[in-house]
C-alpha cells in the first residue's frame, strides 16, 4: 500500500485531464461569471463615488499653491537659515514672481494660504503685490520693507518656506486644533482658536445622546409591537414606517412649526396656563431643537432592528421564567433582555453612524449652538472656501464612520441589514 505513488491516485476525466484541474477550471469560470454580474455596479460606484471621495481626501494634504506660484523664491530660500531675513537676490526673485503671480491672479491664493498659518498676513502679500507693479528696479529689499515692515520679520519667511512644501499636514493639524509654529514644531492653537476638538467632542456627545434617547423610546414600542397580535402590530408599524418614508425636510418643517416660540406646542402650553404668554420656551434654533428633531428622524432606524429581533423571541421563555418563580422585572432582565442585545447593537450603531454625519437638520433647526461637525465642513466648503480644512475635517469624520461601519459589519453583517 505504501508504494502507491501520488500520480497513480490522480483521477482523470475521459480525455486524460486531471479531474482536480478540471474542477478548478469550472469553478474559476463560475467565479468569473458571478464577478462579471457585479462588475458594472462596482465600476460605477468606484467612478462616481469612491474616486470623488479619494480625490477630496487628497485635497486635505495637497498644497500646490505656493509651490507653483513662487517656485524660484522657494529654491532661493533652500539655503536660508531660520531667524534671518534674506538678502537682495531673494527679494528680487520674489518681486518678479509676485508680479507674475498677480498677473495670473494666483497671488491672492498665496495670500490666503499664508493667512491660514499666520493670521493677519494676507494684506502684506496683496498690498506688496499691488505696489510692486510700479517698482521697476531694485533695490527690492528696501522697497519691500517700505511697503510693509513685516517683510523684515524672519517668521514670515519661515512660514513662506513652510507652506512652499507641495504636501502638508497643516490642514489636519488645524482640524485637531494644532499648528506648526514658525520653526516647524507642532504646537496647539491659541486658546481662543481651539474650536474643532470641542466640536468633535460635542458631535460625539450629541450622537451618543441621540442614540441613547432613540433606544429608550424604541425599546418599549418595539416590545409592544412584538408581543401584540399581528393585526394590531401591523397597524402600529404603519405609525413607525410613515415617518420613515416621509421626506426629511417635511419632518424638519413640522418640528419648526411645532417647536417655534409662536408654534403649536408653545400655544398649547400657554392656553393650558403652564407658561405665561411672555416667557414662551425657546425649544428650537438651539441644541434642544437639533436633538428633538434628530431623535424623531432616526427613531425608525432603531425600532426596525429591535422589532425584528424581538419577534423571534418565543414568549414561552418569559412564561417559563415566571413559573420558576422569577418576579416580572427579574424575568425580563435575566431572560428577555439578553436576547435583545443583538438588536440593540445593530440599531445603536446604525443610529450613531447616521447621527454623527448629519447635516440637514442641525443646519435648519440648530441655530448657532446646535451645529455639528458636518455643518462646519459645509461652512468651509461654501463660505470660507478653506477646502483643505474642509477636506481634513471630512477625512477625520470619514475615518470614524468607516471604523464604525467595520464594527457594524463584524457584529451584524451587512448582508443582514434589513429595510422596512
Amino acid at each position: 500500500m505504501a508504494e502507491i505513488t501520488a500520480d497513480q491516485t490522480v483521477i482523470t476525466t475521459a480525455d486524460g485531464v486531471p479531474l482536480k484541474s478540471r474542477l478548478a477550471q469550472a469553478e474559476r469560470r463560475k467565479k468569473i461569471a458571478a464577478f462579471a454580474l457585479v462588475l458594472p455596479l462596482l465600476a460605477f460606484i468606484l467612478i462616481t463615488f469612491i474616486v470623488p471621495i479619494l480625490d477630496m481626501t487628497f485635497r486635505s494634504v495637497d498644497n500646490p499653491v505656493v509651490a507653483e506660484t513662487l517656485p524660484r523664491t522657494l529654491a532661493a530660500l533652500e539655503t536660508w537659515k531660520f531667524g534671518e531675513v534674506p538678502d537682495e537676490p531673494v527679494f528680487a526673485i520674489l518681486a518678479e514672481e509676485m508680479v507674475a503671480g498677480s498677473k495670473a491672479r494666483t497671488i491672492g491664493k498665496v495670500a490666503t494660504r499664508l493667512n491660514y498659518e499666520m493670521p493677519g498676513s494676507r494684506s502684506t502679500i496683496t498690498k506688496t503685490a499691488r505696489r510692486l507693479k510700479r517698482i521697476k528696479q531694485g533695490p527690492y529689499k528696501e522697497a519691500f520693507l517700505k511697503i510693509d515692515k513685516k517683510w523684515g520679520d524672519p517668521d514670515l519667511w519661515a512660514r513662506l518656506k513652510q507652506i512652499g512644501a507641495p504636501y502638508t499636514l497643516s490642514y489636519y493639524l488645524a482640524a485637531v486644533d494644532m499648528q506648526y509654529d514658525a520653526e516647524g514644531n507642532i504646537v496647539s492653537q491659541p486658546e481662543d482658536r481651539q474650536i474643532y476638538v470641542p466640536l468633535f467632542v460635542r458631535t460625539l456627545w450629541v450622537s451618543l445622546l441621540i442614540t441613547g434617547l432613540c433606544l429608550l423610546l424604541a425599546y418599549p414600542i418595539a416590545y409592544l409591537m412584538a408581543t401584540l397580535p399581528t393585526g394590531i402590530s401591523n397597524l402600529l408599524m404603519i405609525m413607525v414606517l410613515l415617518p420613515f418614508w416621509t421626506s426629511l425636510l417635511v419632518r424638519t418643517t413640522s418640528w419648526i412649526v411645532l417647536l417655534q416660540t409662536e408654534g403649536v406646542l408653545n400655544d398649547i402650553a400657554v392656553w393650558l396656563g403652564l407658561i405665561g404668554d411672555d416667557n414662551r420656551l425657546q425649544m428650537i434654533y438651539n441644541m434642544t431643537g437639533t436633538v428633538i428633531a434628530m431623535v424623531h428622524i432616526l427613531l425608525p432606524f432603531m425600532v426596525l432592528p429591535l422589532f425584528s429581533v424581538m419577534k423571534t423571541i418565543s414568549p414561552s421563555y418569559m412564561r417559563a421564567a415566571r413559573s420558576l418563580g422569577a418576579t416580572p422585572p427579574r424575568a425580563f432582565w435575566t431572560v428577555y433582555f439578553p436576547q435583545t442585545v443583538p438588536g440593540i447593537g445593530a440599531g445603536s450603531i446604525l443610529v450613531f453612524i447616521l447621527a454623527i454625519g448629519y447635516y440637514i437638520t442641525p443646519a435648519l433647526v440648530g441655530g448657532r449652538t446646535g451645529q455639528l461637525i458636518s455643518n462646519f465642513i459645509a461652512f468651509h466648503m461654501q463660505k470660507s472656501l478653506n477646502w483643505g480644512l474642509a477636506a481634513a475635517l471630512g477625512g477625520i469624520l470619514l475615518l470614524g464612520v468607516l471604523a464604525l461601519y467595520w464594527l457594524y459589519n463584524r457584529i451584524v453583517g451587512i448582508d443582514n441589514m434589513k429595510l422596512g
Binding site: 457585479v38 415617518p243 416621509t246 421626506s247 425636510l249 417635511v250 454625519g357 465642513i377
Partner: protein, 284 residues
C-alpha cells in the same frame, strides 16, 4: 404582554396600563409632527398655528390658497418636474445595476463577497456631506457639476445600496433547483431568467426601486452642492424656503409629499405581502 392574565395583581395591572400609555405617548411623538402639518396647510391665514376659527371648524378658516400658490409659481412647478426627472432616471439606472450585482453577489462562487458588498453599500453609510463635497470637486473637474447628468449619476450611486440589499434579501431563500428544473425541461438560460427568476425576485426589485426613488426624491445635500439653479429639486426648493422665509406654501408641499409617501408605502406593503404569499410564508 399579549393579554392580562386573570391572576394579575394590582401592581401588575397598573404596570400593564401604564406601559400602554407610555407607548401611546411615544407613538404620538412619532406621528404628531406629520399629522399637525396637514390641517395647517389648509389655513386661510399665513400663520403656522391653529387659530380659534380653525378649531371651531369654520369653513372660512380653511382654504386651498397655498396649494394654488404651488402651481402658480413657476419655480415650484419647475422643481417638481426636476425632481421627477432626476428620480426616475436614477431609479432606472440604480435598479438595473443593483439587480445585476445582487444576482452576482448571491451566487455561491462570488469571490471577495464581503469586501465587494462593503464597497457597494458604502454610499449609504458615508455621511452625505462628505459624499457631496467629494462629488462637488470631482464632478466640477470633469464638467458634470450643475448638469442633470451629474445629478442623476450621483443619485444613482446613493440609491444602488438599497436595491442591492432588497434584491439580495429576496434571493436568500431562492431555491436553485427551480432553475435546474427549468433547464432540464429544455429552457435556455434567457428563458429561465425571464420565466423563473424574474417573477420570483420582482417584489424585491420593485421595493428596491421604490427605495432608490425615494432616496433621490428626498435627497438635498448633494443637490445643494451639485445642482445649479436650473436643476433645483423639490427638497432644494423647500430648503431655500425654510432658510429664507418660511411660507405656508411649504406646508402645502409637505402635505402633498406626505400623501405621496403614503402611496409609496402602501405599494411596498402590498409587495411584501405578495412576496410572502409567493414563497409560501404565511404570517401568523
Amino acid at each position: 404582554m399579549a393579554a392580562l392574565p386573570p391572576y394579575a395583581g394590582p401592581l401588575e395591572r397598573s404596570w400593564y396600563y401604564g406601559f400602554r400609555v407610555l407607548c401611546g405617548l411615544i407613538f404620538l411623538f412619532l406621528i404628531m409632527p406629520i399629522l399637525v402639518i396637514v390641517p395647517l396647510s389648509f389655513n386661510a391665514e399665513p400663520y403656522f398655528t391653529f387659530n380659534e376659527s380653525m378649531l371651531r371648524l369654520e369653513p372660512e378658516a380653511y382654504s386651498l390658497r397655498w396649494y394654488e400658490d404651488i402651481f402658480n409659481n413657476p419655480q415650484w412647478v419647475h422643481s417638481i418636474k426636476n425632481s421627477f426627472i432626476v428620480a426616475i432616471f436614477s431609479t432606472l439606472l440604480a435598479t438595473f445595476l443593483g439587480t445585476l450585482a445582487a444576482l452576482g453577489l448571491s451566487r455561491a462562487y462570488m469571490p471577495y463577497r464581503t469586501a465587494v458588498m462593503g464597497v457597494l453599500i458604502s454610499p449609504m453609510i458615508v455621511p452625505l456631506i462628505i459624499t457631496a463635497a467629494g462629488m462637488y470637486f470631482f464632478y466640477s473637474k470633469i464638467g458634470l457639476a450643475q448638469t442633470y447628468l451629474g445629478l442623476i449619476l450621483a443619485h444613482t450611486a446613493l440609491g444602488t445600496p438599497f436595491v442591492v440589499i432588497t434584491v439580495t434579501a429576496t434571493l436568500v431563500g431562492f431555491d436553485h433547483s427551480l432553475t435546474r428544473a427549468s433547464a432540464s425541461l429544455g429552457a435556455d438560460p434567457t428563458r429561465t431568467f425571464f420565466k423563473v427568476i424574474v417573477p420570483l425576485i420582482l417584489p424585491g426589485v420593485i421595493s428596491g426601486a421604490l427605495f432608490a426613488f425615494i432616496t433621490s426624491f428626498d435627497e438635498v445635500v448633494v443637490v445643494l452642492f451639485l445642482a445649479g439653479f436650473e436643476q433645483r429639486t423639490i427638497p432644494r426648493q423647500m430648503w431655500a424656503g425654510i432658510r429664507e422665509q418660511i411660507s405656508p406654501t411649504i406646508l402645502a408641499v409637505a402635505t402633498l409629499l406626505i400623501t405621496f409617501s403614503i402611496v409609496l408605502m402602501s405599494v411596498l406593503e402590498g409587495l411584501r405581502r405578495r412576496n410572502e404569499r409567493l414563497r409560501g410564508i404565511r404570517s401568523t
